[in-house]
């Protein structure tokens, strides 16, 4: 099936309908994830008030640091799109290069977030301390966990593409991964705005 696809480059009606169903199914998963994040945002906003210790962290945010983090994730969203554009042209080398660039940027994002978390923990600002910190770590940590899973997926995909080239299965994985990765950047817009920018206002 894969070989035939690679030779002719044409999907049968069955293959087309199966893959587009998978794309839609994955999109439905992302929509449920969106509702999960919405509930975490609500918890954060409710618990951000001074009566829950909200003032304790306001002055410890380093906005410039978070801005760099934000740009790293945004650029990685763009390079992920470039990887798909190269995949469409059948360019394995370009696809793998841009996927690796995406990986490096995503890993930098996670590393910065982990270092920020450990800085807070070292100052005694742990999730168990007050409601604000519980909401903060849950919301930002859930997003970070998603990005980390995305990084593992990315590595597995690079191995698969290096092995079997841009087969139908690998192209499908790329399409799903790109949705996942762009989705995480969309969530981050709101974390950057609601947690950090509005957090220091």
């Amino acid at each position: 099936m894969t070989d035939e696809f690679d030779r002719s480059g044409i999907l049968s009606v069955d293959e087309k309908s199966k893959d587009s169903t998978i794309v839609f199914g994955f999109w439905m998963y992302l929509m449920t994830d969106l509702v999960l994040f919405a509930s975490l945002f609500v918890v954060f906003v409710v618990l951000r008030g001074p009566e829950y210790g909200g003032a304790s962290i306001k002055n410890t945010f380093d906005l410039q640091y978070v801005f760099i983090e934000t740009i790293a994730l945004l650029v990685s969203s763009f390079t992920c799109g470039l990887a798909l554009l190269f995949a469409r042209e059948g360019n394995v080398r370009g696809t793998v290069s841009w996927l690796l660039a995406t990986f490096v940027l995503g890993a930098a994002f996670v590393a910065m977030e982990v270092s920020e978390f450990s800085r807070l923990l070292a100052q005694g600002l742990a999730p168990a301390r007050d409601g604000f910190l519980s909401g903060y770590f849950t919301l930002v940590g859930t997003h970070g966990a998603h990005v980390t899973v995305g990084l593992l997926w990315l590595l597995a995909m690079v191995v698969a593409i290096a092995g079997r080239g841009l087969s139908r299965g690998n192209m499908r994985k790329l399409a799903l991964f790109a949705m996942f990765w762009h989705f995480l950047d969309v969530i981050w817009i709101f974390i950057f705005t609601i947690v950090y920018l509005m957090g220091v206002l």
Partner: protein, 126 residues
């Protein structure tokens, strides 16, 4: 393979995908930087700053959904737009309902000034 992403409906056929990525990236960079600068410079009154920052986030949301996730009114992506709209409705109910209940509760539980004075007197004065 050439048009695989279009064939399976991940990308709309009517879109210039490379162009949309470039435009989406440029706009997202500008909106992120603008929101950040407004907050860092602190040049506006508080209420205006909140409005600018939230407005920039909503704009960037629309830009990324359209340019990166390729959700539009094109027939191939319309069903994903419907799913997104329904998720939006669920989130609206979830978010506005929760905030309404919780902040109303906060208001009801906050003692007014006579209660506060009474409490302080009971505790042995100021």
């Amino acid at each position: 393979m050439k048009n695989y992403f279009e064939e399976i409906g991940a990308w709309p056929r009517s879109h210039n995908i490379a162009g949309s990525y470039a435009v989406g990236f440029a706009l997202s960079l500008m909106l992120t930087f603008a929101a950040y600068e407004f907050v860092v410079q602190n040049a506006l009154p508080h209420g205006w700053l909140v409005a600018v920052v939230v407005g920039a986030a909503i704009l960037q949301f629309i830009v990324q959904v359209y340019c990166f996730l390729h959700i539009g009114t094109d027939s191939s992506t319309r069903e994903r737009l419907f799913a997104l709209s329904f998720a939006g409705l669920l989130m609206l109910i979830l978010v506005s309902g929760s905030l309404w209940i919780m902040f109303d509760l906060n208001g009801r539980m906050r003692p007014d000034s006579t209660q506060m004075v009474q409490y302080m007197n009971d505790q042995g004065g100021f």
